[in-house]
């Protein structure tokens, strides 16, 4: 007899009470403070209705690094076009680095990593993951090529002039521009990836989540630029970071208002801590970015804060979704309310 079993049994008892609560006319109690008043609902021994995703930290890390890569590619292209070589170089490298990291995270999270290439077996418009894979497959080589061009450019002259390398160097700008054009979907599709599920706190966020994620990507990549490039060249990065941070804070607030009770998990437990951290880091980073034009230290600190804030956003949203899936309340109550209002979801 393991402790797990005992716990399960005790849970069974508590939850049996929950099952019978409706018949006894008492409300299904909440265990911790919540924004919305207690709603009476019934469940099967308090068991979740939907299953949480089997994803671990790899996936929010992937969401974050994908956004960072996308924003960085945009920064790199802008820097390239406006003659900011240091910012360009840093951004191209961070784009590639983030992309590489995200790929590793993605593959690592598979149940059968060796079958990664099966992702390209079909092209499914109904699957955000398939769509995203194809977007990444388009974006990745160009982002890689742009970063390769930076490497070539850093090589000693004679070597650099060998023909394949020279070609790489020549292709740096066009590749970087193509990557930049493809980058925004890389940042925004991940929001659809989460929203296109039955996980209550993800799905209910589907209207605003893309804006939260892209603005968060902007803040992160701006922060990265501030961190990695000399102050002189980071003006656009600071502006991107500031703009991203402000929009993220606004979009996140708007998102929560649209979610009903499924916003609760964003305030509770691990997700709540992450979201609060995200907010303060983003506000701090945004404030710091105003000073970052003058102080390298401020730039580094606020850049790091923004990166961390963006990461916290992704982890927070991820965890809130997981938590919402594990509590039947977030699945049952909105649906039950819908039915009780006489508004079931029907085709006709």
């Amino acid at each position: 007899m393991s402790d797990d079993q005992l716990r399960a049994a005790q849970r069974g008892q508590r939850l049996q009470d929950a099952v019978t609560s409706r018949h006894r006319g008492s409300p299904g109690g909440r265990r911790d403070g919540s924004v919305v008043p207690d709603a009476e609902f019934t469940s099967y021994y308090g068991r979740p209705v939907v299953k949480p995703s089997p994803w671990e930290a790899d996936i929010p890390a992937y969401l974050f690094s994908g956004g960072l890569a996308a924003g960085s590619s945009l920064l790199a292209a802008g820097a390239d076009l406006t003659g900011r070589p240091a910012l360009r170089r840093a951004s191209r490298f961070s784009a590639l680095g983030a992309l590489g990291f995200s790929m590793v995270a993605l593959v690592h999270d598979l149940g059968r990593p060796a079958r990664f290439l099966n992702m390209l077996r079909t092209a499914k418009l109904t699957s955000p993951m398939s769509v995203g894979t194809w977007i990444l497959s388009g974006y990745g080589p160009f982002a890689g090529l742009a970063a390769a061009a930076e490497v070539v450019d850093a090589l000693p002259g004679p070597l650099r002039r060998r023909w394949p390398l020279r070609l790489v160097s020549r292709l740096g700008r066009p590749a970087g521009l193509v990557a930049a054009v493809m980058a925004p979907p890389v940042a925004s599709y991940t929001a659809v990836l989460l929203a296109d599920t039955a996980t209550p706190s993800w799905h209910e966020a589907y209207r605003e989540l893309p804006f939260v994620f892209t603005s968060s990507a902007a803040a992160a990549s701006g922060g990265m630029g501030m961190l990695a490039a000399p102050v002189a060249e980071t003006g656009p990065a600071r502006r991107l970071a500031l703009g991203g941070a402000v929009v993220e804070l606004l979009a996140e607030r708007r998102m929560e208002r649209s979610m009903g009770i499924t916003a609760e998990p964003l305030h509770q437990g691990k997700a709540g801590r992450l979201m609060r951290a995200s907010r303060w880091l983003t506000i701090g980073g945004a404030a710091g970015s105003l000073l970052a034009g003058r102080s390298r230290t401020a730039a580094v600190l606020s850049g790091a804060a923004l990166l961390a804030g963006s990461a916290c956003t992704r982890f927070g949203v991820f965890e809130a979704g997981q938590a919402s899936a594990k509590d039947p309340r977030y699945t049952v109550v909105p649906q039950r309310e819908r039915l009780d209002r006489g508004e079931p979801v029907r085709w006709s």
């Binding site: 077996r121 079909t122 092209a123 109904t126």
Partner: protein, 187 residues
């Protein structure tokens, strides 16, 4: 089936009509070759569930001298092909990893099992039966009644034994003079 690059599902999607890649375009080779093992079995024999006494008929599917499936026999007027969880688990009964397949022998005062081969074990049991019978034989009992029996050998059988088995058991023990021959039917 030979695979060519043209079988790449993305191309199959593009060729239509399954543009969204949900149906025919997504089918794999294993899927195309899927066959139930009830169909590929070498033979199917009629059996009866060994658990309760309802008498549900079973069909046992055998492939390569292994039981690959046991399910209810739809022809049976008793169960009409249906089985309860125990009947449904009877392949698990036959193939359980805990199934005993060799003789285990525990010597007097031993703390562990030891292995024996079947022939030796049978010889040992036969010796013990003969000895116990001789040692405890009664031609007459304490009240001087003619009984010609032994009270030194007893048996208790489960009720999953076949009629033919019970018949031989009772026949042999009766000839041997052993009378404490009992069965689950008394329990």
């Amino acid at each position: 089936m030979v695979r060519t690059p043209l079988d790449w599902p993305v191309l199959r999607q593009l060729r239509g009509p399954d543009v969204l890649g949900r149906g025919p375009a997504a089918r794999s080779r294993d899927t195309e070759e899927l066959t139930p093992r009830t169909k590929t079995a070498d033979r199917v024999v009629g059996s009866v569930c060994p658990y309760c006494a309802v008498g549900c008929a079973q069909r046992v599917f055998v492939k390569d001298e292994k039981v690959v499936q046991i399910e209810g026999d739809p022809d049976s007027p008793v169960n009409r092909g249906r089985l309860c969880p125990k009947g449904s688990a009877s392949k698990n009964l036959v193939t359980s990893p805990l199934r005993q397949q060799t003789i285990r022998y525990r010597a007097p005062y031993a703390t562990e099992w030891q292995e024996l081969d079947l022939g030796t074990a049978m010889e040992m049991v036969a010796d013990r039966v003969v000895k116990a019978r001789n040692d405890t034989w009664q031609d007459i009992d304490e009240k001087n009644r003619r009984v010609r029996r032994t009270l030194g050998i007893a048996s208790l059988g489960g009720a999953t034994l076949d009629n033919e088995e019970n018949y031989l058991i009772k026949k042999l023990f009766t000839a041997m003079g052993a009378i404490q021959i009992e069965n689950q039917a008394r329990i």
